[in-house]
């Protein structure tokens, strides 16, 4: 069963890497953005199937930090500065949401 899970993960990651770096024709920056978006997809697996609520909170926090990187790269690709504004606001809201979720998980009031 463990070997089967290893094999499934290796097949998925290998297929994504092959499609991204050998088949897909695009500039190198777009391929890197694709790798980061695949990482976001794996994080969403942990959000859906996390055994405890703390796992989901961690996954959403990590997803926010990943999205900041993706937005910086998209701004670099289109040569537009305002994507970084969106990234900063996303990071701020992700931080506040993580703190609020952590306090709600601990069972304390939000103004404690």
């Amino acid at each position: 069963m463990k070997i089967l899970r290893w094999l499934a993960g290796a097949v998925v990651i290998g297929a994504l890497a092959y499609l991204n770096f050998a088949v897909f024709k695009a500039p190198f920056l777009v391929r890197l953005i694709n790798v980061s978006l695949f990482s976001a997809l794996f994080v969403l697996y942990r959000v859906v199937r996390g055994p405890s609520p703390a796992d989901r909170i961690i996954a959403v926090d990590i997803l926010g930090i990943l999205i900041v990187g993706v937005l910086a790269l998209i701004g670099l690709y289109y040569n537009q500065g305002f994507f970084m504004d969106i990234a900063l606001i996303w990071a701020l809201l992700s931080f506040v949401a993580s703190l609020a979720f952590a306090k709600a998980l601990e069972g304390r009031r939000l103004d404690d």
Binding site: G9, F28, L29, L32, V35, S36, F38, S39, F42, V43, Y45, R46, S52, P53, A54, D55, I57, I58, A59, D61, I62, I65, L66, V68, G69, A72, L73, G75, L76, G81, M84, D85, A87, L88, A91, L92, F95, S98, L99, F101, A102, K103, L105, E106, G107
Partner: protein, 121 residues
């Protein structure tokens, strides 16, 4: 020319660290192990990626916004990780069955006994 290569190398290393951190988030057996792997790798990866973008863009408004993003991530990500780990431990999320010690729990029980004994006697 060397600025382009340095920026792309920083961005590639950052993306690699992001991917490895997310792999740790998927593979490790426990909430605390997942938090450790994911937060360290993803914070360093995204900060390196933003530093690569800063090298490519130089001292423009975009570059200064990227520097602001690096400072913000370095300030806020450890705070969020600490709050989540503390809440998970106080919310009685179980450790992995392979773990050998829980010193934080032992320390808390010791402190509660110290607080409890003067009231009883």
């Amino acid at each position: 020319m060397i600025r382009q290569y340095a920026g792309m190398i920083f961005i590639t290393v950052g993306i690699t660290f992001d991917f490895l951190g997310v792999l740790g988030l998927l593979r490790l057996p426990d909430v605390y192990n997942r938090l450790q792997a994911a937060t360290k790798c993803v914070t360093f990866g995204s900060a390196g990626l933003l530093f690569g973008v800063f090298i490519l863009k130089g001292f423009t408004s975009f570059g200064f916004k990227v520097l602001l993003g690096i400072a913000f991530i370095f300030l806020t990500s450890p705070i969020a990780a600490h709050a989540i780990a503390r809440a998970a431990h106080r919310g009685r999320v179980a450790l992995a069955p392979e773990s050998v010690a829980d010193l934080y729990e032992a320390d808390r029980e010791l402190k509660e006994e110290d607080h409890a004994t003067p009231q009883n006697t």
